[in-house]
């Protein structure tokens, strides 16, 4: 049974304090919790895409990572890690590494480095079946360079390259569903999660992913106080609202079988998630109700699609 106190007390953080990420940022909590899910005796090689996490955790001559760490470029984190993992296989096979040591391969990238510039490298590495866990911390825009839209940016959000203007009211395109794209790679394990409540969902999915062999993908919601415009202390509330509105469903897909890990008893309207965020402020101006309606429709459509997939894939298994 998962117990947050035990996990935090007994499993020391492999991602240390002293890094320079913003207060109220969702990403450090994700990195810390994912790494806590690694077996304590195992070594980890982290590969990190260029982005907020990289520029604020490994500024020469300091590092916040107690494991081995490599950063090469924005779009190359997966390919880089595939080389590390290939080296491990080769050296292990040749008896050039200690037999009793295990190494895990974990990649961290933001939505820019994952959904957009890094999608080719990610898709390639996953198709080749390298034994690695890719963790996307999705904050829905290029936050490191100053809040530019990405393909993960929700429709109508105000960003610096899709400003809510008098003619075009923010980003006009719906967000890409990367989790489903990764499912289409037929990986042994794909999951979508967030740092909600006592971190149980995030921790358990990370633990599962890390211990399954092959290419695994975790899409983790990681709110950004600067880009989303919420008070830093509201991080956990924003995570919760994303999940309770089904805007960010928690689910996992193990060998093609869908399992929704949380179904809200009382699904909140999507405006509850939008309201506390400045990037959606213009949606609440008189005359803009249609935008909230559109986002509600999109949320419902995707949620229902997910329910149908769960039903269908489990039916296949039961037959």
């Amino acid at each position: 049974m998962y117990n947050v106190k035990e996990v935090v007390a007994n499993k020391p953080s492999r991602f240390t304090s002293g890094h320079r990420m913003c207060a109220g940022c969702g990403a450090p909590a994700v990195a810390r919790m994912v790494l806590r899910a690694v077996n304590e005796n195992d070594h980890v090689v982290v590969s990190n895409a260029t982005g907020c996490m990289e520029v604020s955790t490994c500024i020469y001559p300091y590092t916040a990572w107690t494991d081995s760490y490599i950063h090469t470029a924005f779009e190359s984190a997966s390919a880089t890690e595939s080389g590390v993992e290939a080296a491990y296989k080769s050296l292990k096979k040749q008896g050039k590494l200690p037999e009793n040591e295990n190494t895990k391969f974990i990649v961290f990238g933001g939505d820019g480095g994952t959904y957009d510039i890094g999608i080719q490298s990610l898709s390639g590495a996953m198709e080749r079946g390298h034994d690695m866990t890719y963790v996307c911390y999705d904050n829905g825009a290029y936050m490191n360079t100053g809040i530019q839209r990405s393909s993960a940016t929700p429709r109508f959000a105000d960003t610096t390259t899709s400003p809510a203007g008098s003619v075009i009211p923010g980003k006009m395109q719906p967000r890409k569903d990367l989790t489903e794209i990764m499912c289409a790679h037929h990986l042994p394990y794909v999951a979508q999660t967030a740092a909600v409540g006592n971190f149980k969902d995030l921790y358990e999915k990370a633990e599962k992913a890390i211990n399954i062999k092959g290419g695994k993908f975790l899409n983790v919601l990681a709110p950004c106080p600067r880009g989303w415009g919420y008070a830093t202390e509201d991080l956990m509330l924003i995570n919760k609202l994303a999940v309770e509105t089904c805007w960010w469903p928690l689910y996992e897909v193990e060998n093609g079988v869908y399992h929704i890990t949380y179904k809200p008893a009382n699904k909140l309207p999507v405006e509850e998630f939008l309201k506390p965020q400045k990037r959606f402020k213009h949606l609440f101006k008189p005359g803009n109700e249609w935008m909230i309606e559109e986002l509600q429709k999109e949320t419902d459509l995707r949620w229902n699609e997910l329910l149908a997939k769960e039903e269908m894939t489990n039916k296949n298994v039961n037959e």
Binding site: H43, V45, H71, G83, S90, L97
Partner: protein, 391 residues
């Protein structure tokens, strides 16, 4: 006893890689270097090497994977050409700045656009200042020999820089020539095993590679990279001496062909040197003191040695296998001329752009170069084109 064979440049390169038996090869096919990963994959799938072959989805990922593998503590290799190298460009810089002795086989081809799959040196020249050691090869034998020497140079503790072995696309990569191969055991002993000091897979000493490197340190790190390239000079020479002891084949920074007493000298790289040698022989028979300076080590550039070798010549022609698009000379010309200038050696030197996109390089063209050199009066425009259709 060495082994006499007949191999193409690509086969010879793949064969050298088999004998080197690297831990990881990551590559993506591109003409005319495709055969290298093809041959190599068959070695992997038939259990003739210990290598993990990573069939990446792009050249960008090929170099990224090589960086990951080399940083992890493995010996990593790749092969590419033209646009493939351009697509790697970003990672090429990161490989050298991370001080990772990756070895790359570059089969030179014109970069796009427009699309052309044949030989020129635009690919190599686009990475000439990227912190890689660059060796050029006239023949299949030289491509093989340079590859056997590559790791000893790149992995030397005073160097730790990536290295590329260049040869001409199709002209040597696909032409079958006689070649002397070394026995597997000899190569194994010569190349040795790679023992990195610090590597990602060392659980006892976790490291961070590729940090954010800001104003306080980047300049010092670049100075160290500069020093590594300087240190490479001695190492390249030492390794060549060891190689000569083993094979009898002598390799220097450049090869002078009838150079010492020459009055008119052509400077070039790779396969064109073979054609130039024929022309030099022919001219010598007619009493014209022609000579050749063929550069093998392009990076680090042996400028002082080249300048001294050209001192006192009547005229020099530098042949650049690239188009001239910068309002000044080709890269080889600029390096040769500035090396002479810094040593206060003044020789009239002209520049030819030639062989672009696989345009045939004929003996007639080279004869024209030496004719021009003998009649050199007007230096107002030193930039010329060779083998160009004028209508």
């Amino acid at each position: 006893m060495s082994i006499r064979e007949r191999l193409s440049g690509n086969e010879a390169t793949a064969y050298a890689m088999k004998q080197i038996n690297p831990d990881v090869v990551a590559a993506f096919p591109i003409t005319p270097s495709t055969e290298i990963p093809q041959y190599f994959s068959s070695y992997v799938d038939n259990g003739q090497v210990d290598t993990e072959f990573v069939a990446v989805e792009s050249e960008h990922s090929a170099m990224s994977a090589c960086i990951g593998a080399e940083a992890a503590g493995a010996r990593a290799m790749t092969a590419t050409s033209a646009n493939g190298l351009e697509y790697m460009w970003e990672m090429i810089q990161i490989a050298s700045s991370s001080r990772l002795p990756i070895v790359l086989a570059l089969v030179d081809r014109a970069i796009s656009g427009p699309l052309n799959i044949h030989c020129d040196h635009t690919d190599a020249m686009a990475v000439k200042d990227s912190g890689w050691i660059m060796l050029f090869s006239e023949t299949n034998q030289e491509a093989y020999d340079n590859m056997i020497m590559a790791h000893r140079i790149a992995e030397n503790k005073d160097v730790m820089l990536p290295l590329m072995v260049c040869q001409d696309g199709f002209i040597t990569s696909h032409a079958i020539e006689n070649i002397e191969l070394l026995e597997d055991e000899k190569v194994k002993e010569f190349v040795g095993t790679y023992k990195p000091e610090h590597y990602l897979l060392n659980k006892k000493e976790p490291i961070a590679v590729g940090p954010m490197d800001l104003q306080p340190y980047l300049m010092e790190h670049k100075r160290q990279q500069h020093q590594a390239m300087e240190n490479a000079r001695k190492v390249i020479a030492d390794v060549a001496l060891d190689f000569e002891k083993m094979t009898g084949r002598k390799y220097e920074f450049f090869e002078g062909y009838k150079l010492e007493d020459a009055e008119y000298v052509a400077v070039c790289m790779n396969s064109t040197a073979g054609t130039v040698k024929n022309v030099v022989d022919n001219l010598r028979e007619n009493g014209i003191k022609a000579g050749l300076l063929k550069i093998r080590v392009f990076r680090p550039f042996p400028g002082d040695l080249i300048a001294k070798a050209l001192e006192g010549k009547k005229a020099v022609a530098v042949l650049d296998r690239v188009p001239l698009l910068n309002g000044t000379g080709g890269p080889l010309y600029e390096d040769v001329v500035s090396s002479m200038f810094t040593q206060n050696i003044m020789v009239p030197t002209i520049n030819y752009s030639y062989g672009i996109g696989g345009r045939d390089v004929t003996e007639d063209q080279i004869h024209k170069v030496y004719e021009d050199l003998q009649n050199l009066k007007d230096m107002s425009n030193p930039y010329r084109f060779l083998g160009l259709r004028e209508n």
